[in-house]
């Protein structure tokens, strides 16, 4: 990352964000009018992964912490909702915050140990912890083990029927908007500036008196909590919670989303989640060998868009204004 990049992240600006929000709010109606109701589910999925990828981007893109175990927090959130529902607690007001708490607690523990290491060792130790959770859930036969835990219903949100796909979409959209606004607020706060400063030069930040470990740890825990929320929503969308949610390939997928979207760009996670999921959807409709096409496209992104998709957008803007 060049030092010319400012620490302030404007994103789409107030009007741009509002326009995007309105467009996304209108989406289910447009889809229904076109007779493509199925894609409401796809859109919900994209929004949920946008939340998860944004939380990873918070620590990876802005904090320089390349966590290879982020799916564990998503999975823990999902299992919290599933296990609570199994115990008869279906209220979203209880289950979703509980999911965030469970994931935050796990992130607190994992972060406290992992943040002692740096670089590749950090990548591997976060992977190790995620794998431990993965195999733990595989072994817990009471909660479905390998086959997973089916959810008999969606979480109940006071006065709202989440069984309806559209209401669920709007709930997810609202939460995604809150997460995006919150993350933007956080990044543009002194906390966010210090976090980005640590990524640029840890030694210097420590020398001027920043509590590096505490700051990184807090960001790690917060990212875990947000990932837990994404997991809670994913459990509701899928109606099933399986250990596969925590598999390392899922962590890899989240990382790929952040990288293609743009690590360290405010909208990087969301953009990457949308790009990857929609590309998969699109390509798999055209060809059986869509993974080949996806691989070639990703390779093109690496070679021709070094800063990810948001870097492309930034560059074309610079050219236009330049």
């Amino acid at each position: 990352m060049s030092s010319s990049v400012s620490l302030h992240h404007k994103g789409l600006g107030r009007w741009g964000s509002l326009a995007l929000l309105l467009a996304l709010a209108a989406l289910p109606f447009v889809l229904t009018a076109l007779g493509w109701e199925f894609y409401t589910g796809v859109a919900t999925r994209v929004l949920i992964f946008a939340i998860a990828a944004t939380s990873l981007n918070l620590i990876l893109g802005f904090g320089g912490m390349v966590s290879f175990g982020h799916a564990a927090f998503v999975g823990l959130g999902a299992y919290t909702v599933g296990i609570l529902m199994d115990a008869g607690v279906s209220s979203a007001w209880i289950a979703w915050p509980a999911a965030m708490l469970a994931s935050a607690a796990a992130a607190a523990l994992i972060g406290a140990i992992s943040l002692r290491t740096r670089g590749v060792y950090f990548i591997m130790i976060t992977l190790a912890f995620a794998q431990m959770f993965y195999y733990l859930m595989v072994s817990l036969k009471a909660y479905g083990g390998d086959d997973g835990l089916p959810l008999p219903q969606r979480s109940a949100l006071l006065g709202l029927d989440l069984k309806n796909d559209q209401s669920f979409y709007f709930t997810v959209l609202l939460l995604a908007a809150l997460v995006m606004a919150g993350v933007q607020r956080l990044l543009n706060s002194p906390f966010g500036w210090l976090l980005q400063g640590i990524k640029e030069n840890e030694t210097r930040m420590a020398a001027v008196g920043t509590r590096v470990f505490a700051l990184q740890w807090q960001a790690f825990v917060l990212a875990g909590a947000i990932a837990g929320l994404a997991g809670a929503l994913l459990a509701n969308l899928n109606g099933l919670v399986t250990p596969h949610l925590m598999h390392w390939s899922q962590s890899g997928q989240l990382m790929i989303m952040v990288i293609i979207g743009g690590a360290g760009a405010l909208w990087g996670g969301a953009l990457g989640a949308a790009a990857l999921l929609l590309l998969e959807e699109l390509l798999s409709g055209y060809t059986l060998h869509w993974q080949m096409a996806l691989g070639l496209l990703l390779l093109a992104v690496v070679l021709f868009a070094p800063q990810g998709l948001s870097g492309l957008v930034r560059r074309s803007k610079a050219v236009r204004h330049g």
Binding site: I113, Q131, Y135, G252, I256, H289, L294
Partner: protein, 306 residues
């Protein structure tokens, strides 16, 4: 506890560990010298296994199959390095992760397009299909003994190559200080193409030898890749000795805990709990091992860089 079972499992662990070493050796050199994360290393292992299976199917000769796998994959690896990977050395780790992840997708789909969805069968050579009596009462498959023998021989060869030859000296110089090695006149570019091809050949050897024991199928490279990364992180990145110790540790812990842990658990808990928790604990154990090693030695057991 039955000592024959323990001895048998220890040999299995040794055999698995040596095969892991073949993968980890190339991975750790690429990582140690060029500071390049290559997620597609496991794909070379898969390609090697497929080339071996296809050659065996066509010619019926196991020796030819192994040779074709090793030579073919080494050429493919060098081609890959020349055409694509050397563009990535100067890039950050995230770009390398994305590019080599793309290579995984491409090679998986490529293999699927050429050989189809169904796993290929690779049979053990007929001459080695029987068991050998190592000690009175201890019967062990001859083929697995061959793998242990080849693994040990390659490990020894690699050790001599790295510690006793000029190329090995360059490799060690590159691993400990790349800029200084370049300044002293080592052609890092050519050296690295060579190292990459050699790493690919080792992958293919592991793939071809393990082919008859495991199914030759799409995606076989990914799970073993994670284990290979665990190995080099435990051993210390860039260190061949570390890779060997790490591979043997992981191989033994994984194999032994898989058989012995459920037995131990049965003594401590109800059979149902034991049969459920035993396998999971065994899978977790190598990650506990890695976390513990990194906790006390954050640079791995044998750090290559000062």
């Amino acid at each position: 506890m039955d000592w024959i079972l323990v001895a048998e499992q220890a040999l299995n662990g040794l055999q698995f560990g040596l095969m892991l070493f073949l993968l980890a050796a190339g991975l750790t050199l690429v990582f140690g010298i060029m500071d390049m994360i290559n997620l597609a290393h496991g794909s070379l292992y898969m390609v090697g296994a497929y080339l071996a299976a296809a050659t065996a199917l066509a010619t019926g000769s196991f020796v030819l199959a192994v040779a074709a796998a090793v030579i073919g994959t080494a050429l493919l690896g060098m081609l890959l390095e020349l055409a694509l990977l050397r563009r990535l050395y100067q890039r950050d780790h995230l770009s390398q992760v994305l590019a080599t992840f793309a290579l995984i997708l491409i090679s998986n789909e490529g293999v699927r397009m050429i050989w189809g969805e169904q796993p290929l069968m690779l049979n053990t050579p007929a001459a080695l299909s029987g068991p050998v009596e190592l000690l009175p009462g201890l019967m062990y498959p001859a083929y697995r003994l061959l793998i242990i023998g080849v693994g040990l021989a390659v490990a020894l060869l690699l050790f001599l190559l790295v510690t006793r030859t000029r190329i090995g000296m360059w490799v060690r110089a590159g691993a400990s200080n790349r800029a200084m090695a370049t300044a002293m006149g080592v052609n890092i570019k050519r050296l690295f193409t060579l190292v990459f091809g050699f790493g690919a050949a080792l992958c293919a050897l592991a793939g071809a030898l393990l082919g008859p024991l495991l199914a030759v199928q799409v995606g076989m490279g990914e799970s073993i890749l994670i284990l290979a990364f665990v190995v080099i992180v435990i051993g210390g990145i860039g260190s061949i000795r570390g890779a060997l110790v790490g591979a043997l540790l992981v191989g033994l812990v994984d194999t032994l805990s898989r058989t012995l842990l459920p037995a131990v658990m049965r003594q401590l808990a109800s059979p149902e709990v034991a049969s459920n928790l035993g396998p999971a604990l065994a899978s977790i154990l190598i990650y506990v091992l890695m976390a513990a090693v990194l906790f006390w030695k954050p640079q791995g057991l044998f750090p290559a860089r000062g």
